[in-house]
Amino acid sequence: MAKLIITLNGLPVKEYPLQLARITIGRNSDNDIALDDETVSGEHAVIQLKPEPSITDLDSTNGTQLNGNNIGKEPLTHGDIIKIGSHQLTFIDEQAQDFESTVILDSPVVMEGEGNIQGAIKLLNGTKAGEVRKIEKDRTTLGRPGVQAAVIIRQAGGFTLMAVAIGKGEITSQLNGKTLTTEERQLYDGDLIEIAGAQLQFISQTG
């Protein structure tokens, strides 16, 4: 999905996922993206995702800049930088990024102390049914060697799960009845994981 990264004076303000076909930007609070900025007009600009992503300036007082140039209406491509008043909006089109390009799994910054989210896996079937195993590592592998594999990744804000393909083998592991992919999925308390015949439940608590 495409998104905008909004920054003010170089500091990130928020990330805005572009879910609507048409997104209005301006100072007035009824805009989809309301910018509290005196140099922004009430109704300043509009982003349309179809047929191709574009941005249109709505005859604003101070204008809209795209990659440094004042514009009326221009197509948007991945990495474009829009300037509206003092705010900067970077257009990120994740589909435009290479599908196969390298992904970096950063080591999470997990603070010690209270308020941490703890995770555990409960085994629901097999001879050890009922057993609960705490997730202790940054990355915990699940599955059966040579058959199916997935990894639980500890993040600063919780845990994610992603399938790992073994050779050219098909991924059949499931999360809550849906087949997993090699994209990370957020895990929530009570989620059901099925992998290589094993049924597991993810348990989380703030400790």
Binding site: I104, R139, G146, I166, G167
Partner: protein
Amino acid sequence: MIKVYGKSDTGLKRNHNEDYIGWSEEGGLAILADGMGGHNAGEVASKIAVTTIQQQLLNSALIDSKSEIKNAIDRANEAINYKAKDSLVCAGMGTTVVVVLFNDSHISFGHVGDSRLYRLRDNVLEQLTSDHSLVQEMVDEGFMNQAEARESVSNNVITRALGTDSEVQGEIQQQDISQGDRYLLCSDGLSDMIESTDIHNLMGEASMEVAVDKLIALANVNGGSDNISVILVEIV
């Protein structure tokens, strides 16, 4: 003394080359980096890595090669991380790196990510580095073998990179050398595309230039889905 020949190729599927290579025969040094990040930022990261490490190592006394390499990797990490924070377009960029220093009696080498160092000695090929990648961790845990790891669609996930965090842990090692040894530094655009038996056979080609050209050509014949970089070094 070393003799070096290297090349970097865009491959067939990418429209630009995010790898960067560098070496110095007099300085006994070879470095290869495979950058990543949107909007061509990967090129920025890999170039900073190679030039920073090269400068650092060519200007150091090299009393303790292993700690010099560690310092050079740390310095490159800082430089990339600083640039990534400084520019929105470069945000999140990173790179792998493999760096090798050749002395009279041994090599010292460091790596981060999935760029590799191989050695061909007495017609035996050995991979001297172990990838910092998700599939390698699964290999280490016995979930899959090397061939399955190479073929997995998950082989694009690396667990360490230069520049994405304020600190990085380079893996630094040392080995003795022997006259006639050949060393190969390569990006995953080579090692993911061709089998180790082919690396073995082609590394042994009499001419180093022919060896490098054939390695890259085979990676392209097999799909060329990523940038392909190769540096071949011979101990003479």
